[in-house]
């Protein structure tokens, strides 16, 4: 049935079209959009309905915006605006499929190249004579390059690119007290086993990478410090830089054995890339991508029971760079 109708419509269109093409009356013109516009009043109604729904949703957005204090305000706003575009998209889809002529046309791809024009361009440049003046071209290059260099030079002001001493500075010196985030000094007897503490150099900028420490207490029998770290602990309390030597995140995980026979030894772990350091062995890397041990700070307990540094770190703090192993940390 519908096929028959389509056939009739096509035949009629062809007939009418043929008739017209033969004798164009004055003022009449050859059609460009070849395909017939589909006649579908239903589709037009649907599209109009969708557009009105889109408008209504957009208005709803404004209303919701004005009616403050609704619960789930963000959700309602997003829903209203989203739906406005959903309806618009649907209306446009109906338009594309049902309301505009669906032409499928052919066209030539552009020419691959234009050899004559290429030749003419070359000719114009050559006939200008400039390219043959070798010294001139060289001088032009020299001027351009030098001006470029000059204009780039102020970039050097962005930072102390050639003064890297600050990379090995730390606030720690013999006697510096260890304080909490609120600046309260740590007492040795506050430090318990099985958890970790964050400490800072008293009076230092807490955000500076070398300021922060992670403190843990281990049974003295479990300590297996390498010779160069011998005596760094204060009664089993160990202090390490809190900044991972891999990429500079803060060491924020402390793994302590839950079931000794199968679980690995206590370890300090960086949650960014899971570099794992063993405090009992002076911060040795036991897993993960870190290429250097965690810097350790020698500790002492003063007469009043407060924790103090007994010197500086045993190695540079923070991620590795080309000169990281060439300088000891300095105050």
């Amino acid at each position: 049935m519908s096929k028959a109708r389509a056939f009739l419509v096509a035949a009629a269109t062809l007939l009418v079209g043929r008739g017209r093409r033969r004798r164009l009356r004055p003022g009449e013109r050859e059609p460009i959009v070849a395909a017939p516009t589909p006649r579908s009043p239903d589709a037009e109604l649907v599209a109009i309905g969708l557009l009105l729904a889109s408008a209504a949703s957009a208005i709803a957005f404004v209303v919701i915006y004005v009616l403050d204090r609704l619960p789930a305000h963000t959700q309602l706003l997003g829903l209203a605006l989203g739906l406005a575009f959903v309806f618009l998209a649907a209306a446009l889809t109906v338009t594309a499929k049902r309301l505009v002529p669906n032409e499928e046309l052919e066209d030539d791809y552009p020419e691959q190249e234009h050899p004559d024009e290429q030749e003419r361009v070359v000719q114009v440049v050559e006939e200008s004579g400039l390219t043959r003046r070798r010294l001139f071209v060289l001088a032009l290059g020299a001027a351009g390059g030098s001006i470029g260099l000059a204009l780039l030079t102020p970039v050097a002001s962005l930072g102390p690119a050639l003064h890297l001493a600050r990379f090995s500075l730390t606030p720690w010196r013999r006697g510096t007290r260890l304080v909490t985030e609120d600046g309260e000094p740590y007492r040795a007897d506050e430090i318990e086993e099985g958890t970790f503490y964050t400490a800072f150099a008293e009076g230092a900028d807490k955000e500076a990478l070398a300021s922060s420490l992670v403190l843990v207490r281990l049974p003295k029998s479990e300590l297996d410090l390498p010779p160069e770290n011998a005596g760094f602990d204060a009664d089993g309390i160990l202090a390490f830089s809190k900044i991972c030597t891999h990429a500079g995140c803060a060491i924020a995980l402390y793994r302590k054995p839950m079931f000794a026979p199968t679980d690995p030894q206590p370890a300090l772990i960086c949650p960014c890339h899971y570099s794992t350091f063993e405090p009992a062995k002076g911060g040795k890397v036991i897993f993960g991508p870190a290429g250097r041990k965690l810097p350790m700070l020698p500790l002492a307990i003063d007469g009043k029971g407060f924790l103090r540094a007994r010197g500086n770190f045993d190695g540079p703090v923070g991620p590795s760079w080309w000169g990281v192993r060439m300088k000891r940390p300095t105050t």
Partner: protein, 453 residues
Amino acid sequence: MIRALVRFLDQRTGTAPFLRRTLRYLFPDHWSFLLGEVALYAFVVLIGTGVYLTLFYEDSTAKVVYHGPYGPLQGQEMTHAYRSVVDISTTVKAGLLIRQTHHWAANVFIAAIVLHLLRVFFTGAYRKPRELTYWLGLTMLTMALLEGYLGYSLADDLLSGMGLAIGYGVALSVPFVGANLAALMWDGPFPGSYAFFPRMYIVHVFVIPALLAVLLAAHLALVALKHHTQFRMSERESERKLVGVPTFPGQTPRSLGLFASVVAVLFLLGGLVQINPIWLWGPYHTYSATNGAQPDWYLGWLIGALRIVPGFDVVIGHYTLVPNPFWGGVLLPLAFFGFLYLWPWLERRFLGERGYHNLLDRPRDAPLRTAIGYAVATEVFLVFLAGSADRVDVLFGLPYIPQIWAYRVLVIVGPFVAGFLAYRVCVELQRGERVEHERRRAEHAARVARSRA
């Protein structure tokens, strides 16, 4: 009315012939040609929502104590940058909707670019005469990755601060000049001076978007100048003849419909699906970190790569030649993008690719290209998966360390296996087609013979 407008324009600009050609410019019809358009529309949403966010954002790392309506942060010390993003999310009306839509749009933008790239690669659309279009597109992808990273870093919440710390570690790891480079960018050691956030900000809201806009214009101009590629869908398409739907009236409602769909999805996501709830992460301090930290999806491959490299720095005496983050954070992206940039040349040089193409390949039509592309994609995907090993540990109880060892093996073996399988599949598909072709011919011959008899 329309005539008056066209006449006005033509008399003042002389563009009537150009307009006519533009209206009748042909778009070949295939769903995969819409991926680039999706990226374009996401970019439009990014510009719109982004401009809105700049009206509230403050690029200062000066400290402030929070006294806003959000209880859990009450009395905490934080930067102005973080406070302003918390305010956008809590007190600015519709601010959270716009911020979340912006973030979702960034994710969709890069996803659409990546899918578009896969389409272009596996159909050979980058071949002569469209190499420039391809290189511009690749450059936009690298820009977009950097742009996304800078964008979420600006919030200065705990998660983004960790991302910046890693960025700093990666910058330091560049051989010979790493620390100098980092000192230049951060104006000193991490977390840098007050100048660092304004630098990120201007790059995020002006430098890269402007570059993207220029590259995008050039990309689209090149597409139009050489016309779109097409699949051979029938006898009509050829290297010389293009078959498609004209800009107007056919393509216009389709494209606008796609635009509206993209905007709809982004606003629905922005309103209904929470993304990066920075008020939960809290302010960043160099000495804090959170467990289970994951970047936006498009940086997952980099974090995975940083995680699976075994722990070593390459050291000569006291000189650190290659700090560890270099492998995953610098070398992998360099190798990946280097491969993609060089590919058209590699294919010409080593696979004997010649000629001038307007017709696209199906992946099976070029088994070696498909195999190599598939191997590279597998490598990136495996490294990407490795980045989620910690979440897999938490969610499914698969221990982290064995997983990492498995990935260390897989990233070496996986690409070869995947490439080989892809090659075999392509060859079998081709063979199947030949058999099918033969069968049809034989059947046809038999029919003809029967009807004669």
